[in-house]
C-alpha cells in the first residue's frame, strides 16, 4: 500500500478533542467539521479529511457523540454528529487538560 506521510500539522490525539469542541456549537457533518477546524485555525491546521472518519467512529463507539442522517443545507443527505451528555462533560475535561498541557509546554519552551 502506498502510504503517504501523514501531515504533521495536527498533534497526535488532539483531533478527537477538536471534534468535540466543534460539536459543542451544535451538530455538524464530517465536511463541516473539517472545514470548521481549518477556518478556526486560520487555515494553519490542515486536516486530512479522510482521517476524520475513524476518529468520529471511535468517539461514537465511546458514546461521546451520536449520529443521525439529515438533509444538509445544500439539500443532500448527510450524517450529522452531535454531542451526547457524556460528550459534553468530556469537552470540559479535555479543555482543562489541554490548558494545563499548553501552559506546561509553554513554560518549558520559553526563552531562557
Amino acid at each position: 500500500m502506498a502510504r503517504q506521510a501523514k501531515p504533521v500539522d495536527i498533534l497526535q490525539g488532539t483531533l478527537n478533542m477538536m471534534i468535540l469542541r466543534v460539536l459543542q456549537q451544535g451538530p455538524a457533518n464530517g465536511y463541516e467539521i473539517a472545514k470548521y477546524i481549518e477556518q478556526r485555525s486560520d487555515d494553519l491546521l490542515q486536516v486530512e479529511h479522510g482521517s476524520l472518519y475513524p476518529a468520529l467512529r471511535r468517539l461514537e463507539a465511546k458514546a461521546l457523540i451520536k449520529a443521525e442522517w439529515r438533509v444538509s443545507q445544500t439539500n443532500r443527505r448527510a450524517r450529522y454528529y452531535a454531542l451526547t451528555a457524556a460528550g459534553k462533560k468530556q469537552v470540559v475535561v479535555e479543555r482543562s487538560h489541554w490548558k494545563t498541557l499548553v501552559q506546561a509546554i509553554a513554560r518549558v519552551m520559553r526563552p531562557i
Binding site: 500500500m1 457533518n29 486530512e48 479529511h49 472518519y53 475513524p54 467512529r57 461514537e60 450524517r79
Partner: protein, 873 residues
C-alpha cells in the same frame, strides 16, 4: 452506524468538496482530483474505520479463513498430505497420552493418595530384593512412628491366598483374597459401600471369621444381594460372615475380591520369623516422604538391635508411595513410550512444516503481488496462519480418530500387567493434548514458513517470476534446519527401536533354564479351612495326596512326565527366598548375614519336565524320603561358588537358614534357571518334597496330548481323588515366558512402528528438499551442463550440500541419546543404550537411505537436456 453508512457519508463529503472547488472555478476533473487528494483513499478510510471496531480482528479472521479455504482447495494435495502426516503424529501421541493419563495421572480412588506409603525391607548384603515383614512388626511401626495416622500389614503377593467360593451352584469359583490387618481400609481412606469396616475385635486370635467383599464379587458372584451384610458365605468349606461390601474401584491389592482379617492365627501374631508381609501406612498430613524414610530406617535399625535373632543389621527399609507401588515399572515404560511418541509428533510437525513451506514458497509470486497491492505483512501472515489452523483442525480431528483406533488396539494388545490400562479412553485431557499439539503444528507449519516467505524483496520476486523463485537463501536455510532436526529425531527413534529389538532378541535367546516350552503348569494348592488353607492339612497328608495324583497321571500312556513344584517359574517377582550356608563356610560369628536365593520344593522328575538340564549328579527319586538322608540339588552358580572355595560341589553339605536344623547333601547340580523374571539371573536350591515342610502347589506335566487335553486329564484325575479341590492358572512354560516378556514385546513393536514412521518422514523430507533445489536451480544447472560440467560432479555437489545437514542432525540425535539414554536403561536387556554399534549402524542406515532419496532426483535432474530448460525460461 456501522461501516455500511460509511460509503454514503464519504460520497457526501466528496461531493461537497468537489462542489466547493467548482464554485471556485475549477473544471470538474480538477475538482475531482482535488477532492480525491483531500479525502485520501476510500479503501484506506474504510480499513481505518474498520479497525476501530472492537471485533474487527474476528471479522478479519473470517475473511482470511475464506481466502484460506480457497487456497486450500487449490493446493489440496499438499494440505491433505500435511494433515495426514500430522494426524499420524497427533494420533499416536494422543493415544500414548491417554494411556499415561489412565494409568499414571488419574488419581487412585484413595483420598490424599500421596500420604499412603508401602513399606518393606531389602538386605543388600544378602542380595535379596525384598525382605518381608512379620506380623509383630505392625505393632513396632504403630508404636515407633507417631507420624503415621494408620498402619496396616498385608501380604507382599496375592499368591496362595485365593479362596474357593461355594455359592451353592455347581461351579466353584476361585477368588483372589487378601488377608489384611484391621486398619487396612482406614489406611486407604475408603469406607465400605454397605456394612462396616474391620475392627480390632475382628482381628484377634480365635475371632469368628468375617469377610469384606469387593463390589465386583458382590455383583458378579452374589447377585448384588442388598441383604448380603450379615449373611454367611462359604469359602474353602468354612463359613464367613459378610460384614461389608467395599466401594467399587477400591480393589487393592490389585485383583483382590475378598479381604479377611489377618491376625487371627496364633502361628503368625507372635512369630517374628513368619515373614510374608509388607506394611502400608497413611502419614499424617504434611509429613514428607523423606522424613518417613528416615523414621522407618531408624526403627528397623532399632529392631535389628533388639531382636538380633530375627533381623540382620544390613536390612534397610524401602518406602514407596502407593501411587508408584501401584504402577511399578510400567510407570517408567509408559513415560518413555510417551516420550517416543512425542518425538514422532515432532517429526511429523517438521515434515508437515516442510511440506507447507514448499507450498508457501511456490506461492511467493502470489504473496508478493498481494503485498505490492497494499496487503500488509501482518495480513499475509494471518492469512497463512489461518491456513495453518485449518490444516491443524483437520489434522486434530483425524488425529483423534487415529488415537481412538490406536487406543483400542493398544489396550487389547498391551500386556495385562499394567493396571488401569483398559480404562484408557479419549477424554477432556486428550482433547486438550490434541489441541495443543495441533496448535503447535499450526504455528510451526505456517508462521515460520510465512515469515520466511514474506521477507522477500518484492521487486526481485516479481521480476524473476516463475518456479525459480521457490528457492531463496532463507527458505533454503529453514528447510535445511528442518531436515537436520528431523534427522536427529529419527536417529533417536530408530536407535531406540533397534536397542529394543536387540535386547528382545537377547532376552529370548538367553538361556533362562526352561527348555520345555510345551510343559503345562497349573496351580493346585490343597485348600482347607483357615488363613493358610494349604497348611490346614498336615504335610504328610499333602505329600501322599501329591504322590497319589502324580502316580495316577504318570500311569496315563499319553503323559511323558509329571511333577510338582512349590512355585512355578515366572509366577511373579516375589517368590520364596531362603538363606543358606555351606558347611565349609559355616561357623564364625553368630549373627552373620547369610546370602539368599530362590528355594523350590520339587518332586522327582520336575527338572526333566520343565527342561532344566541336570549337569552333574542325579535327580531326586523315591528314596529321598522322610526317612532318607536329607539331600538337595543346587544350580550351577552355587556350585561354582563351592568350586571357587576349593571344594567339590557334589557331596558337599548345606543348610537352610542360620543355624538350620540339619545339613543336606548336594546330590545334583542343574543349570541356573530364572524363576522371577526372564531378565533376572539367579541361583536355585531344590529340595525333595518328601523332606520339606513347605507344600508343592503347582503341577507340571508334559505329554503327547494338547495342553487342553492334558489339563482336562489333570482335572479328571483330581476329581477322582478329591472333588473339593480345583486347579487354576493353567499355562504352558512357553505362555509364561511370553507373558513375562509381553511388556518388552509391546514396547519394541511400538517403537519399531514409531521409528519406521519417522524414517519414512525423514526420507521423504530429504527427497522433497533435493527435488526442489534441483527445480529451483535448473537454470544454473543447465548452464553448467552446457558448459560441460560432468553429471556426476554436479550431483555430488547438490547431494552433499543437503546430506551435510542429515549428518549433523544424526550426530545431534546420537548425542542426545547418549545423554538421556540412561533413563531408558531399564527397558533394555544385555545392551547399553550407548552401544556404539547400534548408534553407528542406525546412523549409517538413515544416511544411506537419505543418500538414495537425494541421489535419485538429483541424478535425473542433472541429466536433462540443457537446451530444453534454457529455452523454457
Amino acid at each position: 452506524m456501522g461501516p455500511r453508512d460509511l460509503p454514503d457519508e464519504i460520497d457526501y463529503h466528496f461531493a461537497v468538496l468537489k462542489d466547493e472547488r467548482i464554485a471556485m472555478g475549477d473544471t470538474p476533473e480538477q475538482a475531482d482530483a482535488f477532492a480525491r487528494r483531500r479525502l485520501g483513499s476510500r479503501t484506506a478510510i474504510g480499513e481505518a474505520v474498520y479497525e476501530t471496531r472492537p471485533l474487527h480482528v474476528l471479522d478479519a479472521g473470517v475473511r482470511d479463513a475464506r481466502l484460506a479455504i480457497r487456497t486450500l482447495r487449490r493446493n489440496k494435495a499438499a494440505y491433505v498430505a500435511a494433515a495426514v502426516i500430522l494426524a499420524l503424529g497427533i494420533g499416536m501421541s494422543v493415544a500414548m497420552f491417554s494411556l499415561v493419563e489412565a494409568v499414571l495421572l488419574r488419581p487412585l480412588p484413595f483420598p490424599r493418595q500421596q500420604s499412603i506409603q508401602v513399606i518393606w525391607k531389602v538386605d543388600p548384603l544378602a542380595g535379596s530384593h525384598v525382605e518381608e515383614l512379620a506380623y509383630p512388626e505392625l505393632r513396632d511401626i504403630e508404636e515407633g512412628i507417631p507420624d503415621f495416622e494408620y498402619v496396616a500389614v498385608m501380604p507382599t503377593s496375592l499368591y496362595g491366598y485365593a479362596r474357593v467360593l461355594q455359592t451353592g451352584k455347581a461351579e466353584l469359583v476361585q477368588i483372589e483374597s487378601a488377608p489384611v490387618s484391621h486398619d487396612f481400609f482406614r489406611v486407604l481412606g475408603v469406607k465400605p459401600a454397605l456394612g462396616r469396616d474391620f475392627t480390632s475385635d475382628d482381628e484377634r486370635v480365635g475371632a469368628p471369621p468375617v469377610v469384606v467383599i469387593s463390589d465386583a464379587v458382590w455383583h458378579d458372584r452374589l447377585g448384588a444381594d442388598p441383604n448380603i451384610v450379615g449373611r454367611v458365605i462359604r469359602l474353602k468349606g468354612q463359613g464367613y460372615t459378610v460384614i461389608g461390601v467395599m466401594a467399587a474401584g477400591a480393589e487393592f491389592p490389585r485383583g483382590a475380591g475378598l479381604w479377611i482379617p489377618l491376625g487371627v492365627e496364633r502361628a503368625i501374631v507372635d512369630r517374628r520369623g513368619a515373614t510374608f508381609l509388607q506394611a502400608i501406612a497413611r502419614a499424617k498430613p504434611g509429613v514428607s516422604r523423606d522424613r518417613i524414610a528416615v523414621q522407618v530406617n531408624a526403627l528397623f535399625a532399632r529392631l535389628a538391635a533388639d531382636h538380633p535373632e530375627a533381623y540382620t543389621r544390613s536390612q534397610r527399609g524401602v518406602v514407596t508411595p502407593l501411587v508408584e507401588y501401584w504402577t511399578g515399572s510400567a510407570r517408567l515404560h509408559l513415560w518413555i513410550m510417551l516420550g517416543a511418541s512425542l518425538l514422532l509428533l515432532i517429526a511429523s510437525i517438521i515434515s508437515a512444516g516442510n511440506l507447507l513451506l514448499s507450498r508457501t514458497l511456490s506461492r511467493r509470486v502470489e504473496i508478493a503481488t498481494r503485498m505490492a497491492l497494499g496487503a500488509r505483512r501482518r495480513q499475509v501472515l494471518s492469512q497463512l496462519g489461518v491456513e495453518g489452523i485449518l490444516v491443524a483442525i483437520m489434522a486434530a480431528t483425524a488425529g483423534l480418530c487415529v488415537a481412538q483406533l490406536a487406543i483400542r488396539f493398544l489396550v487389547r494388545w498391551a500386556p495385562g500387567d499394567i493396571p488401569r490400562l483398559p480404562q484408557a479412553a479419549l477424554d477432556a485431557g486428550s482433547f486438550c493434548f490434541a489441541a495443543g499439539a495441533a496448535a503447535l503444528a499450526a504455528v510451526a507449519c505456517t508462521v515460520i514458513s510465512g515469515w520466511a516467505a514474506t521477507r522477500v524483496n518484492l521487486e526481485s520476486a516479481l521480476r524473476e517470476g516463475g518456479v525459480r523463485l521457490s528457492w531463496s537463501q532463507r527458505a533454503g536455510r529453514t528447510k535445511n534446519i528442518f531436515m537436520l532436526a528431523q534427522a536427529a529425531v529419527t536417529v533417536m527413534l530408530l536407535a531406540l527401536a533397534a536397542l529394543l529389538v536387540l535386547s528382545y532378541r537377547a532376552m529370548m535367546s538367553s538361556d533362562i533354564g526352561f527348555t520345555n516350552r510345551d510343559a503345562l503348569t497349573m496351580n493346585l494348592q490343597l485348600r482347607g479351612p483357615g488363613l493358610f488353607g494349604a497348611q490346614a492339612f498336615d504335610p504328610k497328608f499333602r505329600r501322599s495326596f501329591y504322590t497319589q495324583l502324580l502316580d495316577r497321571l504318570r500311569a496315563s500312556p499319553r503323559v511323558t512326565s509329571a511333577a510338582a513344584v512349590l512355585l512355578r517359574p515366572l509366577e511373579g517377582t516375589i517368590g520364596w527366598d531362603v538363606s543358606y550356608e555351606f558347611e565349609f563356610e559355616a561357623g564364625g560369628k553368630d549373627h552373620r548375614v547369610l546370602p539368599k536365593t530362590n528355594y523350590e520344593v520339587v518332586t522327582p522328575d520336575y527338572l526333566k519336565t520343565v527342561g532344566t538340564p541336570l549337569l552333574e549328579g542325579r535327580d531326586f527319586d523315591a528314596h529321598d524320603s522322610e526317612s532318607g538322608e536329607p539331600v538337595a540339588i543346587i544350580s550351577e552358580s552355587l556350585a561354582q561358588r563351592i568350586r571357587a572355595a576349593g571344594h567339590a560341589p557334589l557331596g558337599s553339605r548345606l543348610r537352610l537358614g542360620l543355624g538350620g536344623p540339619r545339613w543336606s547333601k548336594v546330590i545334583g547340580i542343574c543349570a541356573d534357571a530364572r524363576y522371577r523374571s526372564i531378565t533376572q539371573k539367579g541361583a536355585d536350591i531344590f529340595v525333595p518334597y518328601l523332606q520339606a515342610s513347605q507344600p508343592t502347589n503347582y503341577v507340571v506335566i508334559r505329554g503327547t496330548q494338547s495342553a487342553g487335553e492334558l489339563a482336562a486329564l489333570v482335572r479328571r484325575t483330581l476329581a477322582a481323588i478329591d472333588s473339593n479341590q480345583s486347579v487354576g492358572g493353567v499355562a504352558t512354560i512357553g505362555e509364561l515366558i511370553d507373558a513375562n516378556s509381553a511388556r518388552h514385546r509391546f514396547n519394541m513393536l511400538l517403537l519399531l512402528w514409531f521409528g519406521a514412521c519417522a524414517a519414512l518422514l525423514a526420507v521423504s523430507g530429504v527427497y522433497s528438499v533435493i527435488t526442489e533445489t534441483m527445480a529451483a536451480r535448473d537454470h544454473e544447472i543447465a548452464i553448467k551442463i552446457a558448459l560441460g560440467a560432468q553429471r556426476f560432479r554436479l550431483v555430488r555437489e547438490m547431494v552433499s550440500r543437503t546430506l551435510v545437514f542429515v549428518l549433523a542432525g544424526e550426530s545431534i540425535g546420537a548425542l542426545m541419546l547418549c545423554a538421556f539414554g540412561k533413563l531408558g536403561a531399564d527397558l533394555l536387556y544385555g545392551i547399553s543404550p550407548r552401544d556404539p554399534l547400534v548408534l553407528g549402524s542406525v546412523a549409517a542406515f538413515l544416511f544411506m537411505v537419505s543418500l538414495g532419496a537425494a541421489f535419485w532426483p538429483a541424478w535425473s535432474a542433472a541429466g536433462y537436456d540443457p537446451k530444453h530448460s534454457l529455452r523454457v525460461s
